[in-house]
């Protein structure tokens, strides 16, 4: 049993656990993007950063890759950690502002502006699809190619891979290319839709099934519903 301190609380971790797994076990929330329980860790998105050590020796490490150690002092929500996470979200937003997953993170962490050049790409190189293909689907059809600013994920020679079974696992797990953010201010980089949006779903679906995976959780549809129906009744009366 490993004993460590997370946010001032004593925590016990099993042998081989990471900081992230320990924090999850104790119900502490650490945001993640490139982490998935069924896949190997990658440590690419840097959202799960936590501060370890004390005083001038304090440093930021990615909790999904850092093993829990005896006597480790971990802080998951210091100012430095949150500022860094905001910066990471801002950088990812500048690459893929259409991703709903990243826009949701931006709303959650209060990222209000993007100061970088908007690139409108469809990949943030989180590597989820590569690991999904290799580890869960046993396909190994896609992988990283080139390096530096030319780095990309593709099949060998950019043609349909012979080992690809078209299972769609890569698209299922992708945080960018599938779920589209369709906020009201689509021309700006940050939509902050979940904070400001009038629910569009009620206009389209009668059964109130939310077309955005998690959007119902924010409660905007529920809050806005009576007002909307009132408006509709009025308009039909007129």
């Amino acid at each position: 049993m490993i004993k460590l301190i997370i946010n001032g609380l004593e925590a016990n971790a099993e042998e081989g656990w990471t900081i992230l797994e320990t924090a999850k076990f104790y119900g502490l929330e650490i945001p993640t993007l490139c982490y998935n329980e069924g896949l190997s860790t990658y440590g690419g998105c840097r959202l799960c950063l936590v501060e370890i050590g004390e005083g001038s020796k304090a440093k930021l490490v990615s909790s999904c890759t850092y093993p829990a150690e005896d006597g480790l002092v971990v802080r998951t929500d210091t100012k430095r950690v949150i500022e860094t996470r905001r910066m990471m979200i801002e950088l990812m937003l500048s690459i893929a502002p259409n991703s709903k997953t990243i826009q949701d993170l931006a709303s959650k962490f209060g990222v209000k502006q993007v100061r970088f050049k908007i690139r409108n790409e469809e990949c943030i190189l989180c590597g989820l699809c590569v690991r999904m293909c290799a580890e869960q689907m046993d396909g190994r059809a896609i992988g990283f190619q080139n390096r530096g600013h030319k780095r990309k994920i593709s099949t060998p020679f950019d043609i349909k891979s012979e080992v690809c079974r078209l299972c769609g696992g890569c698209m299922y797990i992708c945080p960018v290319c599938q779920l589209r953010c369709q906020g009201p201010q689509a021309d700006t980089a940050v939509c902050n839709a979940c904070l400001t949006m009038d629910p569009t779903c009620l206009d389209y679906y009668d059964d109130l099934q939310c077309w955005m995976y998690d959007a119902g959780r924010c409660g905007t549809c529920v809050r806005e519903e009576p007002e909307k129906s009132d408006r509709k009744e009025q308009s039909t009366k007129q």
Partner: protein
């Protein structure tokens, strides 16, 4: 294709079919063909039991490997900071004019491939041009013609012999 397959397999057996020798094997193939043919990579993948995508990942990571056919001679013009200040871009422009290709491309007769490099680490002798293994120091626009002529001449001599 048969002969090619046997040749590539001989490169692999040279390293005892070891996976860790992948880069050495690719280097041998690159030396033989001046690029990495798709077929060759597939043979390496099957023989070494490494997923093709991993081999392509390695082959695209290193500048020394090319998936496109390259010319017989590789001309590398340094455009690093020191060479840039001393006129590297102008020399590159002259090469582009003389060969009638853009940087990164190969001449239609497959003789020369023109490439740029960020720094070769010998800034004191810049601007530097490297043709195959020959280093040309303090190059000027006037030298470009003679460098090309020299390598064209060598080529002819080799053919005559």
């Amino acid at each position: 294709m048969e002969a090619q397959e046997i040749k590539i397999k001989s490169y692999i057996t040279k390293y005892n079919n070891e996976k860790k020798a992948l880069i050495s094997i690719l280097q041998d193939i690159q030396e033989e063909y001046n690029y990495l043919p798709q077929e060759a990579l597939k043979i390496v993948s099957e023989t070494l039991d490494i997923p093709l995508i991993d081999i392509v990942g390695v082959a695209t990571f290193y500048r020394a490997f090319s998936l496109e056919p390259r010319g017989k001679h590789l001309i590398t013009v340094c455009t690093g900071t020191a060479c840039h200040v001393r006129g590297g871009p102008k020399i590159l422009e002259k090469f582009e004019d003389m060969l009638n290709i853009k940087a990164g491309n190969t001449t239609p007769d497959a003789q020369f491939t023109l490439e740029t490099v960020a720094c070769l680490g010998c800034c004191a002798i810049g601007p530097v041009v490297v043709v195959d293994t020959n280093y040309y120091a303090q190059t000027t626009i006037r030298n470009v013609d003679s460098i090309l002529k020299r390598h064209r001449k060598e080529e002819k001599e080799n053919e005559a012999n």
